[in-house]
């Protein structure tokens, strides 16, 4: 997960560099690069981040569900078993 996040961070920096170049030097090449390649790279970086967030959320939900299941199992184990029927008192001899 960290590897993908680092890749996303690097791609974001690349996209930002193109956008900053176009702002500081607004000539055809930088402006076109920023509006095409820069947008594509930035969107890809954000998509990777979004995917990682989704994976992380699913992991958290899965862990929570598993914890709930384990908890439920523990409760089943803890349920006290039915007490053995009390021995009938001996009937009084007549």
């Amino acid at each position: 997960m960290n590897k993908w996040l680092r890749a996303s961070a690097v791609l974001t920096l690349v996209a930002l560099a193109m956008m900053v170049w176009s702002v500081l030097r607004p000539t055809p090449l930088p402006v076109m690069l920023a509006m095409s390649l820069g947008q594509a790279v930035g969107t890809a970086a954000f998509a990777i981040y979004g995917y990682i967030v989704l994976v992380d959320l699913r992991r958290i939900r899965r862990d929570a569900r598993r914890a709930r299941e384990l908890d439920a199992q523990d409760r089943v184990v803890d349920v006290p078993t039915a007490e053995p029927a009390a021995a009938k008192p001996p009937e009084p001899e007549s």
């Binding site: 961070a9 176009s22 702002v23």
Partner: protein, 204 residues
């Protein structure tokens, strides 16, 4: 370099984002709640701010005369438009404060519902032609070949020079050609009465 408010916002967003991302890449912190929030700002919020503001600043920059003149084949047009002694229509209009720094765009933009989009697509065509045909041509060669794609429409002139102004109607030719002018059948410049916009303009 021209920096408007949008450009400043774009740069501020880029700096903030870069600081967060460089911190993340260098420090390699644990993926805690704070780190996740910082990454949301560094990869999501700040870059989106930069992209939005930067795109707008870019669109505005493409309207500037210097942007149009940044390809070498446009140098003569830029020089003529900004020449205080030139009597060409482009130069006269460039000296008008209403046109400001955007005199090329003001006259060459398409208007109407999708005017901006059509203009930008036309600009992309110019870039394509520059890269494929004119990039390595000398100024003299390019100047001999470059021509306007379509006749200059009178509707562009009429955005400012309204045909309903009494002074405009006092001119005999204007009054005689009113119907044709409004229908776009007669142009003002180029083939029209007011001559070429640039001293060496050619017909399509």
């Amino acid at each position: 370099m021209h920096l408007d408010a949008f450009a400043v916002i774009a740069l501020a967003g880029a700096v903030a984002s870069a600081l967060i991302l460089i911190w993340y890449l260098v420090a390699r912190p644990q993926l805690t709640r704070v780190t996740k929030l910082a990454l949301l700002l560094g990869i999501g919020v700040f870059p989106l701010t930069t992209a939005g503001s930067g795109n707008y600043a870019g669109f505005e920059a493409t309207k500037h005369r210097e942007f149009c003149g940044s390809c070498h084949v446009m140098t003569p047009y830029l020089d003529d438009a900004t020449d205080p002694k030139s009597t060409g229509l482009a130069a006269i209009h460039t000296r008008n404060a209403q046109f400001g720094e955007e005199s090329c765009y003001t006259c060459h933009a398409d208007y109407g519902m999708f005017g901006t989009i059509v203009t930008k697509m036309g600009g992309m065509r110019h870039v394509y032609l520059y890269l494929t045909e004119f990039r390595n041509k000398t100024l003299a060669e390019a100047k001999a070949e470059i021509h306007i794609l379509l006749p200059f429409p009178s509707s562009t002139c009429r955005r400012c020079h309204t045909t309903s102004a009494p002074k405009w109607s006092e001119v005999g030719d204007h009054a005689a050609l009113l119907k044709e002018l409004r229908a776009g059948e007669v142009g003002c410049v180029g083939e029209g009465c007011h001559g070429p916009a640039h001293p060496w303009s050619k017909q399509p």
